[in-house]
Subunit: 359 residues, 2 copies
């Protein structure tokens, strides 16, 4: 009963390493789902190494590798280019990891590693055209200024994208109308709408056009779906659909269990997918036994979440609320967690236990 | 060895409730100790219930109870009053809790629940004088707009201060030169320099002058030092001295263990106390077996932390670094955790394991 009501974690044995990660990285406080645009300090954060200290005056973005004309751009150079601005929903690829059993050891996310910000910067494609990408190039590699040890390897954080996937990407220097905060990549980061968070390389300092697919750690070891060790694995790419609910009522401090009054209540939440627009959200007030359609709001943006609402006449007693997103490509959230070795993309239904009663 | 090097947590058995709290509340990423003033999104956060949504237009601060002239003040009224502004270091009273054995169940902080911001607002004392505090009043009660269930009791978050302790307090509507972010109490919070974080009531909406000491949950049950259940306990008040280090070198992603090169390195950190100015910081590079004096910088402010530095010629091998703060009132950090039932004010030495070697 305790497990059912409070949402189980895959194992009770959270290690000191996981706790250390959880003390520094953080999710979206779920009540902040009421905001279409997440304030910077409430947006989820996953920082692999340390937040680097970057001098904006000394900063240069270098574009090199398989290009005709390598570029070296200051922040002023980037700011003088054509501006693009759009709300984009980000989610950590490890969101839901702590709900898997057995639980892969890494950042122990429950369901709240998400956020939507308005990112402003300049498009990647014209910049690559200016550099003159050679016909032999197949991928663009994005390298950040953050470095550390992972899997026993000293590395800067870097990830590559096939050139076709880089089409809609842009380089952001503002978040919600202000310069990027240090923890979100000051002074520059990559934005790839629809992809999981690791793609959006922070503290971006170098773009290298590659003639062979990138073989680095974050591409060939991490961020792949494995069912067991030793497999080549499949890359983690776009966000699977997920819906989360603004938790109704008020919380208990320790358990975060919700208490609410009997009677009519409007349940609200937001849903997103990196594959297509959200086409439907259904809501269950009986722990997933039955579902009914929620009303959809207009999406916050082409690459951002979509609000929903559902009228519920809450009867006294204990209930488990769920919401379930389906996108226009036909992807829908599973009822049970889809397990994989590293714990990526667990988009199983969120379960929100509530106690309805007069105090 | 694992325990010694990585810093033990009091028990390996972190519960789902604790993980849920850790996913939402967060500490200061320790590299941010390099900044004298913590950017808002990096400052630690402990939110008892939910972040309330507050309309700044409708907001009023009510001052009532044992006063001659109850007040009802808009944000414009507050903004028109004389401004005070100062950097203040805040620390959660539960900082260090997860390092206690046995570990009290609540937010499982390691050592990083701290931050320093420049808070701007208006002094409390002239406002109370305007309201005309009656001679019978003994305490001021501060009530926030956030509410929830704690210890089985539905409550708004509220804490009281004896009038003499309210002398240096002020009401802040800006953090680091911008309106308070939602998670730091928008639009108004109390600031009581030197006291643990729970004192600085967020989303402050009402000040009530009381003729008897406040008996509410956050004063009489929570935030007290107990050695066992059923005792009256002693109130948690001002911050005990603590020093933290900017972790040198680079981290391992999973363990956060630090790697650095052999040779000279300047260790840096910050120390604070709510009782008096920091008078000395000593540093150990041998796990606390011996200590030497660090060099102190000027304090960031009268109620803010003080930077320190220490030159170390790092030899190859594994080492545990510590720093230890002593204040001008003679309080110093203990080597071993001071246990109490609810896990408050554990200011035992931080232990920073490092691996010095050529990669």
């Amino acid at each position: 009963m305790e497990g059912t009501l409070s949402g189980t974690i895959g194992s009770r044995d959270i290690t000191p390493d996981e706790l250390r990660l959880a003390a520094r990285n953080h999710g979206l406080p779920l009540e902040a789902l009421r905001e279409p645009i997440t304030p910077a300090g409430l947006h989820y954060l996953l920082i692999h190494y340390d937040i680097p200290a970057v001098s904006p005056e000394a900063f240069r973005l270098e574009v090199g590798g398989a290009v005709e004309r390598p570029l070296s751009l200051s922040l002023d150079d980037l700011g003088a280019r054509e501006r693009v601005s759009m709300p984009v929903t980000f989610e950590c690829a490890g969101n839901g990891r702590a709900l898997l059993a057995p639980r892969p050891l890494s950042q122990p996310w429950l369901t709240e590693a998400v956020g939507t910000a308005v990112w402003t910067g300049t498009a990647l494609r014209p910049l690559l055209e200016e550099a003159g990408v050679q016909a032999t190039a197949v991928e663009a590699l994005f390298t950040g200024l953050d470095s550390g040890v992972e899997g026993g390897i000293f590395q800067a954080f870097e990830r590559a994208l096939p050139l076709a996937e880089a089409e809609g990407a842009f380089l952001a220097y503002e978040m919600n109308g202000a310069p990027l905060p240090p923890q979100h990549g000051f002074p520059l980061r990559l934005i790839v709408p629809g992809w999981y968070g690791m793609t959006n390389v922070k503290w971006l300092a170098r773009i290298t056009l590659l003639e062979e697919p990138f073989q680095g750690f974050q591409q060939r070891v991490a961020y792949r779906f494995y069912s067991e060790d030793g497999e080549p694995g499949e890359p983690v790419t776009r966000m699977m659909p997920r819906s989360l609910m603004v938790p109704p009522g008020v919380p208990d401090f320790l358990t975060r269990r919700r208490h609410l009054q009997p009677g009519p209540v409007t349940l609200r939440g937001r849903a997103w997918s990196g594959w297509a627009q959200i086409a439907a959200v259904t809501v269950s007030t009986d722990g997933g036994a039955s579902f009914a359609e929620a009303e959809l709001e207009e999406p916050v943006g082409e690459a951002a979440w979509r609000g929903w609402s559902f009228e519920w006449d809450a009867p006294e007693g204990e209930h488990v609320l769920c919401s379930r997103a389906t996108d226009a490509a036909g992807n829908t959230q599973p009822l049970d967690p889809p397990w994989n070795l590293k714990g990526y993309a667990n988009n199983a239904l969120e379960r929100v236990p509530v106690i309805v009663g007069r105090p």
